[in-house]
């Protein structure tokens, strides 16, 4: 069984992944909608920008985030001036790193599910007297909901596995930023760490598999719902 320290690591990982999904779901819906319905030449550029963290090496993403949020970065300085604290090397930094890296998966899943909603349904809604926002909330979003949930689950799974950006932006602080991947890496370099590594690896595989199965089930529901 897991030791108390390992349970703490799993708990921290779940909290970080959970918060990263919660923080990105509303911006994810907005961007997914924009990328699905906005007819502008700038759309391709925006899409590229959103997808960038998916293809950048996570360590590079972490470096860019640190340049922005570290104690000499512009946002980091501003935060320090207002709150007196810092962003980097906190649990919050873990959440930011995980959310950034998982965001493209979230947006893409939402975008695809919004694209598959028939725009004529939105037309009918508007001609029945419901404005753009009401139409989005009453028609588009409910019909795209399985895609939103699938995106949330996928980005949750991605957040659980996040290592590169996390280690750069948040470091490796026990109880604060030592999530499962960071802990596994640390334990691998520790004498007698093998059994703990195996246990954490097993938990990691189980959680990721469960998330993938859930995402697949939601994606099937999405297709069935539109058939």
């Amino acid at each position: 069984m897991l030791t108390d320290a390992e349970i703490e690591i799993v708990r921290l990982s779940a909290i970080v992944a959970g918060w990263s999904v919660l923080a990105s779901v509303i911006p994810g819906i907005l961007l997914g909608w924009l990328l699905a319905r906005w007819n502008s030449p700038l759309r391709g550029l925006l899409q590229g920008g959103v997808m960038l963290p998916l293809v950048l090496p996570p360590v590079v993403t972490g470096f860019l985030l640190l340049a922005l949020l570290g104690h000499s970065g512009p946002l980091g300085k501003a935060w320090e001036a207002v709150t007196g604290g810092q962003i980097a090397y906190t649990t919050g930094a873990c959440v930011i790193a995980a959310a950034t890296v998982g965001f493209p998966l979230m947006v893409e899943s939402i975008r695809l599910s919004i694209v598959s909603v028939d725009p004529k349904l939105e037309m009918v809604s508007r001609s029945l007297g419901r404005g753009r926002l009401a139409t989005f909330l009453r028609v588009t979003l409910p019909l795209a909901l399985p895609g939103v949930l699938a995106g949330a689950v996928l980005s949750f799974a991605r957040a659980l596995g996040e290592f590169g950006a996390t280690i750069v932006l948040a470091g490796n602080i026990e109880g604060e930023t030592r999530t499962i991947p960071v802990a596994v890496y640390t334990l691998m370099n520790t004498r007698d760490g093998e059994s703990a590594v195996l246990r954490l690896v097993a938990v990691s595989v189980a959680m990721s598999l469960a998330a993938l199965l859930a995402a697949g089930w939601l994606a099937r529901r999405r297709r069935k719902g539109q058939a």
């Binding site: 001609s127 029945l128 719902g225 539109q226």
Partner: protein, 357 residues
């Protein structure tokens, strides 16, 4: 009720450029596919912003561009019903009907009950949209639009995705809606019988331009002359009242401008109107009434115009108040010496009078 539109809009190699005014209350937009009728409807609905134009419904200006008013679709009070019913799949039938602002309240009072009654929607309320048949879905879509209390209903070929029998059923419902609920409509169709049955005024479009406007009988009675013969399918499309049936004789007698036209036996009751199509080729012209004729109809008429087009001659004649178009050869025209105002007799076989329902 009235609608007034002046639109100039060009996109993707197509230009819509027209101006019309109509007092309706039911206006039919008629034309071939690609003539611009759906584009026009979408301009009225507010889904297409014309480059230049002014659109007013009941004198309320919904669009005046460039520079002026632009109401978004949700503020126009013009509910659209399209070919596909487009029910919201995540909502129940009842929730679909209650979708528009205020519709839930209307469902609970007499104005809503009347709509449910006319469209026979009560048995469908508790069923999921996915379990409804095509015709039932279209009834719900109509009900949903009417329950939004629109000033005018916009219909984009509401029967064309349905098979012939269901299309007749939906057309009958639209007639009930017109009669019972007195709601003005602007409807797009490429089916002449639908236009005849439903429209009070008819706008004919071709290649984005207004070709003709008037009551459907008038517009469609000379389809070849206004270039819609291929749409109408017959050259003479008439809306005639049933006078009586002669069952032993196998004919139904229709009132054609004071004369009786013998058509094949119909099931329509006396006093009702039926649509009759007659091809111009199937009308024979004689200078005087022939004797010993098997054809049941020999109608005295007066020649209105004689138009030679390529190797055929189109002769417009007037029987009572009705105009008919006959097609003859140049040789026959030469021999009969047909001139405007000349008296003639139009001979039509009973079987040539095609009842269109």
């Amino acid at each position: 009720m009235s609608i007034e539109a002046r639109i100039h809009h060009a996109f993707r190699g197509f230009t819509l450029d027209l101006k019309f005014e109509s007092a309706g209350p039911v206006v039919g937009l008629f034309g071939a596919s690609g003539s611009g009728k759906t584009t026009l409807l979408n301009c009225v609905a507010g889904f297409i912003k014309p480059r230049e134009g002014k659109i007013a419904v009941n004198t309320r200006v919904v669009c005046n561009r460039p520079g002026g008013t632009w109401s978004p679709p949700e503020r126009r009070k013009l509910a659209i019903v399209t070919q596909e019913p487009l029910l919201f799949p995540h909502l129940s039938t009842r929730a679909n009907l209650a979708y528009a602002p205020g519709a839930a309240d209307r469902l609970e009072d007499t104005s809503g009950w009347k709509i449910l009654d006319v469209l026979r929607l009560k048995p469908l309320l508790e069923r999921a949209p996915a379990t409804l048949s095509g015709g039932e879905k279209q009834r719900v879509a109509l009900g949903r639009a009417l329950l939004s209390a629109p000033e005018m209903l916009l219909l984009d070929e509401p029967t064309s995705a349905l098979d012939a029998e269901l299309a007749r059923e939906v057309l009958a419902l639209l007639l009930d809606v017109k009669r019972e609920l007195k709601i003005p409509m602007l409807f797009v169709t490429h089916k002449a019988p639908e236009l005849m049955a439903l429209a009070d005024d008819c706008i004919v479009l071709a290649e984005g331009k207004l070709l003709a406007q008037g009551p459907p009988v008038q517009v469609l009675s000379r389809p070849r002359a206004i270039g819609v013969a291929n749409l109408v399918g017959v050259d003479n499309l008439l809306r005639l009242q049933v006078v009586r049936h002669d069952e032993p004789g196998g004919v139904t007698l229709l009132d054609l401008g004071g004369h009786e036209l013998a058509a094949p036996l119909s099931t329509a009751d006396a006093g009702k109107h039926v649509s009759v199509g007659i091809y111009a080729d199937e009308i024979m012209l004689c200078l005087e009434k022939p004797a010993g004729l098997s054809a049941r109809n020999a109608l005295p008429c007066r020649v209105l115009r004689v138009d030679a087009i390529d190797h055929e001659v189109l002769v417009g004649v007037r029987v009572g108040a009705t105009e008919l178009l006959a097609r003859i050869t140049p040789a026959a025209a030469e021999e009969l010496k047909l001139q405007p105002e000349a008296a003639a007799v139009a001979v039509i076989k009973t079987a040539a009078c095609h009842l269109l329902g």
